[in-house]
Amino acid sequence: MLIEPYACGTHCSIEEAKLAFQNVSKIYGAGADSVTALTPMDLMVRKGDFLCIVGPSGCGKTTLLNLTAGFDQPTSGKIMIDGVEISKPGAERGVVFQQGALFNWMTVLENVAFGPRATGHSASVAREMAMETLQMVGLKDFAKKYPYQLSGGMQQRVGIARALTNDPEVLLMDEPFAALDQQTREVLLEEIRLLWKRTGKTILWITHSIEEALFLATHIVVMSPRPGRIRAAFQSGFGRSDDPLISVTPEFVAAKRHIFELLKSSQKDEVQIQ
């Protein structure tokens, strides 16, 4: 097997980590209605890591990502980027949403140029930067269209281009391809992998799909629900592979089965608790 367990909270020091989660927990609401979305957890992410978070619905994946993006504050602990505590959203952490986050009153070009404009580039420079990323994701010819004139897969690529144009140090992606059909998904996954290899960005990627995680990640964190916690963490060699048929190798299938069993048993635990 090309995956092996590792201690995701201690395998490197905070100084070495690009993103450091220290004792991070999140409780929504208060009193009897409160929901523990995340129990205290530690997680270190090195620069250039492609970390996939898998887990069943409700285990706190989106919560973790929102905290990292700075949309929300942890109940305990802190999240640091390069040793500095995160308190609000910032352009160094680009976010790609599952869907529906494009500005539909702007053209594709204006959407993608929004980041550079907001971070102080002139209109013409921002346009040039936007055109460059649009070319990269193959949407140069659609620059003047509005998002609603594009297909779902194209819209998702606009979302990725928009986040990339700002050249963020960290990319946070919450099931970005969940709403896409299998074929579009595979094409875009391949593109993401190439992009990551070329740019060496640190990526936090949330998914329901074990296969997707194995295909992309250098690190896989498996979470379980109620209360949300890290169930296991693996280092994976598949993400760095150049083999396009990696997903049909026996090692890949064995790894997939292993994580699958893990997720299933955590569901069983839950049933027993109930």
Partner: protein, 280 residues
């Protein structure tokens, strides 16, 4: 998110240019409705070889209405030309309406953006909203005199809360995700407001404005009930006292045309400015 190739009929209807034939068919149906109504009017009022079913006193024939219109155009009504009557009404109406948009929209936006502003202004506005404004007319007359000011205020009274509250609600329902997306692209508070919250609220603001047009026309009638001797609604009310049904109908049609015209105007603006509305 809609795929270009799998849009529902409702969405396609918005892409009018793609369905020219369908649109033409719809136009014919609309024309047929109006022709039918006109025919019923013609028959009922006895334009033809038969006697009128409804007496002209109650419903004058279309021909008489048109004739009355030209007479009014030529001779005016009670010492003022038809243009003057329409003009003064338009002045009262549009002053109130423009005031409501210029003040109500920014106030609503502020209420939507800021909790404190909302805490100050929303309760009084919500409290005034259900009060029938016509009942306040006598008060307005005492407070603001019998001139145009009291009339402008009685028109603005119901329109202002609608426009302000709908702008506020439009801001509050702006997708959080879009605001977060802008923030994580590095947008400042001002940029988030100017480039996300404001445009995303426009559809709701337009809805509020169009909703209040018909209410404003209704209030015009209330405003010209008393303490004036000019205005298109006053003309209708005065003519009714003399049972001059033909003049009443001319005045009503003119008011309907004003209301309908304004609605279409804002509808066109809406289609041009917020063409993306509802296509997420």
């Amino acid at each position: 998110m809609t795929d270009v190739y799998s849009q529902s009929e409702a969405v396609l209807d918005k892409h009018d240019e793609k369905r020219p034939r369908k649109r033409l068919n719809d136009l014919w149906l609309t024309l047929a409705t109006f022709s039918g109504l006109l025919a019923a009017w013609l028959i009922a009022t006895g334009t033809g070889p038969w006697d009128p079913i409804i007496q002209p006193l109650f419903l004058p024939s279309p021909a008489l209405v048109i004739q009355t219109f030209f007479q009014l155009l030529e001779n005016g009504f009670q010492g003022k030309s038809l243009g003057q009557h329409v003009g003064i009404s338009l002045y009262r109406f549009s002053t109130a309406f423009i005031f409501c948009i210029l003040i109500g929209v920014p106030l609503g936006l502020l209420m939507g953006m800021n909790r404190r502003v909302r805490a100050i202004f929303e309760p009084p506005i919500q409290a005034i909203r259900p009060v029938p404004k016509i009942a306040l007319l006598p008060l307005f007359l005492i407070w603001f005199g019998i001139g145009d000011l009291s009339k402008i205020i009685v028109i603005a009274a119901p329109v202002f809360p609608i426009i302000a509250i709908s702008a506020m609600q439009a801001v509050q329902s702006v997708s959080r995700m879009k605001i977060q997306a802008a923030q994580s692209l590095g947008a400042s508070r001002w940029t988030v407001f100017a480039r996300i919250v404001l445009p995303a609220s426009l559809p709701g603001i337009f809805t509020g404005i169009r909703l209040s047009i018909s209410i404003a026309v209704t209030m015009l009638v209330a405003a010209e009930l008393t303490a004036t001797s000019e205005g298109i609604a006053w003309m209708a009310l005065t003519a009714a006292e003399f049972l001059a049904t033909n003049i009443v109908i001319v005045a009503v049609v003119i008011m309907a045309v004003i209301g309908f015209g304004l609605d279409r105007l804002f509808w066109l603006l809406e289609r041009r400015i917020v063409h993306w509305s509802g296509k997420d």
